[in-house]
């Protein structure tokens, strides 16, 4: 039992470091940036292109589509190393992590050769159009219609929670093509050009003040049938491929964590001494340390399995649920430590407390996005522990007859 790379892994890591050192700046030494979204996208595209030119893009994709054919553990090593550098990878996360693998699995050979290398080189940005206002946890309850018209499909409806829709060139889309059959059976999957006529993108303001998501409206948007992925009516199966890749991607909620709170408690006065000396503060710190440590070493176990070339166990499925709740509670407690001043979010007064406010206002979203706490507990119970599904009243009923309530 150790934390060391194998010789091959060490060699790969050294090569990655050499490239990164030559082409990027460590986060800790990076200048504070004040750039527009457009500027950030340009920087991201340049970085992605540079990586692709040097064989560091889409490591686990086949070489013929712009990847490197690397092993899963090599991908992890690359990500570990890249994450230490001040490089903008966010705009490509969904495209490369979810859209690409779906295209690899379902697109035609010509389509793959056309789109994947452009994606890998940062020339096109992709987004994923799945959730709808009335289909969140119950994703398969989606209502966006696709109707056949000659060689095209005509799309009408609304998607929501689409990250990056405003700057995406392409998207993957799941639609309902037959409401007269059961929910999961009437879905069909496509990819489409996001610059098509009839698409309108509107940002959604979150309670944290940010706008990381969009609503996307479709009015008579046409998609050629050649851009269908999978058979008509088989869209749910395609979606599961995508979601499986999402599941791998959804990780630690991040935000202020144990070290930040430890530091705050060390410098904040409580009853005449540093708050860190207070037994109640120490107990909470200990609980969060154990959670953070448990997640870290759970992740190490997953990586170890990949390093051995075996399939990781289901342990990592706990990451989001634990980290999102921790993010919320720890943030809230950080504000408590600052007492009456905990509500201040004026950075000129004390920048330190902003990270705890960001936890407090951001965590409610993390507890929901990518699967609510409740859905994740269902998944752990069903897929990890093998417990049965809840009773499903919508399973063998035509979709059009499933009760829908107000929404």
């Amino acid at each position: 039992m150790d934390f060391n790379d194998t010789p091959a892994e060490a060699e790969f890591r050294a090569a990655a470091r050499t490239f990164l050192e030559a082409n990027a700046t460590l986060t800790s030494g990076a200048p504070q940036r004040d750039e527009t979204e457009t500027e950030q996208i340009e920087r991201a595209k340049a970085w992605q292109q540079l990586k692709q030119d040097n064989g560091w893009a889409c490591l686990n994709w086949p070489t013929e589509y712009g990847g490197r054919g690397a092993t899963p553990i090599e991908l992890i090593i690359w990500n570990q190393e890249e994450s230490r550098y001040d490089v903008p990878t966010g705009p490509f996360a969904i495209g490369l992590g979810m859209c690409g693998p779906t295209m690899i699995a379902y697109a035609s050979e010509d389509q793959k050769r056309e789109h994947l290398p452009r994606m890998a080189a940062g020339q096109d940005i992709w987004c994923q159009l799945f959730s709808e206002p009335a289909a969140g946890s119950d994703l398969a309850g989606l209502r966006t219609r696709a109707e056949r018209d000659g060689d095209d499909w005509v799309i009408n409806g609304q998607k929501i929670w689409t990250s990056g829709a405003q700057f995406s060139d392409w998207g993957i889309l799941v639609t309902r093509t037959d409401p007269s059959v059961a929910k999961h059976k009437g879905l069909t999957f496509f990819f489409l050009n996001m610059h098509s006529p009839g698409i309108e993108v509107r940002p959604i303001k979150q309670i944290s003040g940010g706008a990381n998501f969009n609503e996307v409206y479709f009015t008579d948007v046409r998609i050629p049938d050649t851009q269908r992925l999978g058979e008509v009516g088989q869209g749910w199966g395609v979606s599961l491929t995508t979601l499986m890749n999402e599941r791998l991607a959804v990780g630690n909620a991040g935000g202020a964590d144990f070290p930040d709170l430890f530091e705050l408690a060390s410098k904040t006065d409580l009853d005449g001494e540093p708050a860190i000396n207070n037994a109640a503060v120490r107990e909470k710190l200990a609980d969060w340390y154990c959670q953070a440590s448990g997640l870290k070493f759970t992740n190490y176990r997953t990586i170890s399995a990949l390093s051995r070339g075996t399939t990781p166990g289901p342990e990592n499925s706990i990451t989001k649920i634990v980290s999102a709740v921790k993010m919320q509670d720890l943030g809230s407690f950080g504000l408590d430590l600052m007492d009456m001043g905990g509500i201040l979010n004026d950075a000129t007064l004390d920048p330190a407390n902003l990270i705890f406010q960001q936890n407090f206002m951001g965590a409610p979203g993390y507890r929901i996005a990518g699967g609510t706490d409740e859905i994740l507990r269902n998944i752990i119970a069903e897929r990890v522990l093998g417990m049965p599904q809840d009773i499903r009243v919508d399973k063998n009923v035509p979709f059009s007859e499933v009760p829908t309530g107000n929404s």
């Binding site: 119950d138 003040g209 006065d269 001043g341 407090f360 929901i368 107000n406």
Partner: protein
């Protein structure tokens, strides 16, 4: 046993609900959230017209001299509606402080304005992101001049005067300071809950008049906070129930998997837990109301109990209301976050929850010692 509000008080509650439904809908709260106004002046004038600001102020000072139970009823409804006004600063804190410790002249000078709603008062203690203590307080009065910075001060940007806890030769006392007078510079500060305005106030040799006994500032503040804690706890309980109601309505109407999400145990049990927290808090608030209205020796214990319980309940209900709403819950457009923000504000505004837990046990130790 008569541990409930009276019929008259229930009638007052109905009137308050009906007034606030009309004049403080959540749209009005959002207008303050998103706008430049420190508070909803029209709403506050309406509240004053109904006599709410005058409730506990004696008639000789322009009030109507009702008891604190009536004020508790109003507080709960203000909390439920999230009314964006300086009512709590003026009435729970400043009016109480003046009634407890003011000279007749001071009461004459300030209470009528508070009673009529024409004057706004603020209570200034905090000095940044840490608990204020006798050891770390830097605001100081020398002679009759106050120098130092208080932040955040609730309603400090719209108030006409403030009661300030400042260090002085006697260790620390309360002072009355005219905020429109010389030596005062105020800046509105951004906070977690923009539906309630807060300021940073810089005092530079501002004229300050002592309120009550020299050197008694910390003890006085404890007494004021005990009383305000009960009233804020009613606001918190009102907010908790509003968040619970909002979650319930949404869960009943939102369908997933062909059924209302309210039929799933995960949601049902979440709401049951919210109900439990809100019910415990409400009952503890009643205890606080009784102690406040009778000036009982139990007030310090009852107030801390009400505050701890109500802070927990409001936070829990506001937090899980968002979760019940799923994706919609964390959009700016939905109102869930208004409760979440207010819950946090109210759980730190008299000092944070952990400090009040500690204070509760201290108060129990003290009362045990007294009764032993």
């Amino acid at each position: 046993m008569n541990f409930e509000f009276s019929e008259e008080q229930d009638l007052l509650r109905e009137q308050a609900q009906s007034f606030l439904n009309q004049h403080s809908p959540l749209d009005a709260v959002r207008a303050v959230l998103e706008g430049d106004q420190a508070y909803d002046a029209k709403l506050y004038a309406g509240m004053a017209e109904l006599g709410w600001t005058a409730t506990t102020i004696p008639e000789q000072y322009g009030g109507i001299g009702l008891g604190h139970l009536e004020l508790c009823v109003i507080a709960e409804e203000l909390g439920r509606s999230l009314a964006p006004t300086p009512f709590s600063s003026c009435i729970y804190l400043v009016s109480e402080a003046l009634q407890l410790f003011g000279s007749d002249a001071q009461k004459q000078r300030y209470l009528p304005g508070l009673a009529s709603g024409e004057t706004i008062g603020a209570f200034a203690l905090a000095e940044g992101p840490q608990p204020a203590t006798a050891a770390n307080l830097t605001s100081r009065v020398e002679g009759d001049a106050l120098t130092g910075t208080k932040v955040p001060v609730a309603d400090g940007d719209c108030a006409n005067f403030a009661i300030v806890l400042a260090a002085d030769a006697d260790g620390g006392s309360l002072y009355l300071v005219d905020l429109d007078g010389p030596g005062v510079q105020r800046t509105t500060v951004e906070t977690l809950d923009p539906t309630r305005s807060h300021a940073s106030i810089e005092f530079s040799a501002a004229p300050a008049e002592r309120l009550g006994e020299a050197g008694a500032g910390w003890l006085q503040t404890d007494r004021i906070f005990d009383r305000a804690a009960v009233l804020f706890a009613f606001e918190q309980v009102g907010g908790a129930h509003a968040a619970l109601d909002m979650a319930k309505e949404y869960a009943l109407g939102r369908f997933a998997f062909g059924r209302p999400i309210a039929s799933f145990q995960a949601i049902k049990h979440k709401l049951a837990d919210m109900y439990i927290a809100a019910t415990l808090a409400r009952s503890n608030c009643y205890y606080g109301a009784w102690a406040l209205s009778t000036d009982a020796a139990e007030l310090p214990v009852a107030a801390a109990t009400a505050r701890v319980s109500a802070s927990q309940a409001f936070h829990e209900c506001a937090k899980e209301n968002i979760q019940t709403h799923g994706g919609m819950g964390f959009t700016w457009e939905f109102n869930c976050h208004l409760y979440y923000r207010r819950a946090k504000l109210l759980s730190v505004n008299l000092g944070s929850l952990p400090r009040w837990k500690n204070r509760l046990i201290t108060n129990i130790e003290t009362s045990n010692a007294l009764s032993a």
